[in-house]
């Protein structure tokens, strides 16, 4: 039950993009086309879940054990950067088909604050390993959901006649605001 609550809350109530404001750069950057949005969403789910697990282990068995929690920021970003690099190399060699799909999005994920942010949130909420795993996954799914929804809307908006000053990023942000508004109604659901 507890895991189910974390899962639902992570996707809808505390949606990482629309309620926590993490990962907005790729949100606006890769949402112009549905295809790239889906690619980015898959890459984030993949990396975020792995990063969530590894940073939890690093934090519990290394940083807390050695009492050097002030090195958290440095070590987490190193973990994420090397993880992304590793995943990239691994996919290139072992699953070229998947690499062809996700490849170009992987380097972007290092500076995707959704990944780093979700890892930090897991720690600040003092989650157990399983809860951290569930919440990482739900944040990632929430990210994917919001991104794909948004990309769908943006494809439609591209066909509309938008006033010149509002074009592109501006109307994108306002659309995102509208989606965030609908997501607000999930508050108090759990």
């Amino acid at each position: 039950m507890e895991y189910f609550e974390i899962f639902i809350a992570g996707i809808f109530i505390n949606n990482i993009l629309l309620a926590q404001f993490l990962g907005n750069c790729p949100f606006l950057g890769t949402s112009k086309k549905m295809e790239t949005a889906v690619g980015m969403a898959m890459a984030v789910i993949f990396v975020l879940v792995m990063a969530g697990m590894i940073t939890w282990i690093v934090d519990t068995y290394l940083l807390k054990a050695l009492d050097v929690e002030y090195l958290r920021t440095v070590s987490f970003i190193l973990v994420i950067a090397s993880l992304v690099q590793f995943v990239e190399m691994f996919l290139k060699k072992s699953i070229p088909a998947l690499y062809a799909g996700l490849g170009i999005f992987l380097p972007l994920i290092t500076t995707n604050c959704a990944v780093m942010g979700a890892c930090l949130l897991n720690i600040s909420k003092e989650y157990s390993f399983l809860s951290a795993l569930v919440s990482s996954f739900s944040y990632a799914v929430g990210f994917g959901l919001a991104l794909v929804l948004f990309a769908g809307l943006r494809e439609r908006i591209n066909l509309a006649r938008v006033p010149k000053p509002l074009q592109d990023t501006s109307i994108g942000l306002i659309t995102a605001g509208m989606i965030a508004l609908t997501f607000m109604s999930f508050k108090g659901m759990v």
């Binding site: 629309l18 309620a19 926590q20 404001f21 993490l22 990962g23 907005n24 750069c25 949100f27 606006l28 950057g29 002030y70 090195l71 958290r72 920021t73 440095v74 987490f76 970003i77 190193l78 950067a81 090397s82 290092t110 500076t111 995707n112 604050c113 990944v115 780093m116 942010g117 930090l120 949130l121 600040s124 006033p163 010149k164 000053p165 509002l166 074009q167 990023t169 501006s170 109307i171 994108g172 942000l173 306002i174 995102a176 605001g177 509208m178 965030a180 508004l181 997501f183 607000m184």
Partner: protein, 205 residues
């Protein structure tokens, strides 16, 4: 020299002002601008990291092997971010609590890594400092402006560093009822979108 120094500095204030012209660093922009005070705090913290990361990257630009450069930049940036984190905890604890995890997240602010990669790794230390300072101040101004818009509409007042509000909407429009939507998540997106449109409008003339 002096001319290019001034150029690198001022470009961050209008021509490449983040996050409006340089659409990067949106997460802190949207998340912390519930008030002017938070916006300025975040802006100053980011500026500090930008200037010192730029300086160090520029000094070490001939030592760092190009294959691991991103990892090196990230370590440098993370170090300064942690310094900011510790100093803020020690001296401005309340602000630190309000900004929360967005302080450690300066590490993944694409503006900082972007400047290190695009500018500091190719230019000398003095120019890099000017660039970092300019972009940082531009970012701070944007955050403060966005914070002001959201705080005035959403809370009806502007309060800086405790005490009495320096500005109250009711003094101008009697009976003004704060539009709390503006300080919530959707308000952030919409306020930034409209401000961007306003800038486009001014710029196109």
């Amino acid at each position: 020299m002096a001319q290019s120094l001034a150029k690198e500095f001022t470009k961050g204030l209008w021509a490449e002002i983040p996050p409006f012209r340089l659409v990067l660093g949106l997460c802190p922009t949207l998340a912390v601008t519930k008030s002017v005070e938070n916006g300025i705090g975040m802006g100053v913290a980011t500026t500090f990291v930008l200037v010192f990361a730029n300086l160090l990257v520029s000094l070490l630009r001939n030592v760092i092997p190009s294959k691991v450069r991103i990892a090196c930049y990230v370590v440098i940036i993370a170090t300064f971010v942690t310094i900011v984190e510790l100093v803020m905890q020690a001296y401005t604890y309340e602000l630190f609590l309000k900004l929360g995890i967005f302080i450690p997240l300066i590490v993944v602010n694409c503006i900082v890594l972007g400047r290190a990669e695009a500018f500091a790794s190719k230019n000398g230390p003095v120019l890099s400092i000017a660039d970092g300072l300019g972009i940082g101040i531009g970012f701070t101004l944007s955050l403060a402006a966005l914070g002001a818009v959201r705080e005035i509409i959403g809370a009806g007042t502007i309060t800086i560093w405790g005490g009495t509000p320096v500005f109250e909407m009711v003094n101008i429009f009697p009976g003004y009822n704060p539009f709390a939507f503006m300080v919530e998540a959707p308000g952030a997106f919409i306020a930034l979108g409209l401000m961007l449109a306003a800038m486009n409008l001014i710029g196109s003339k």
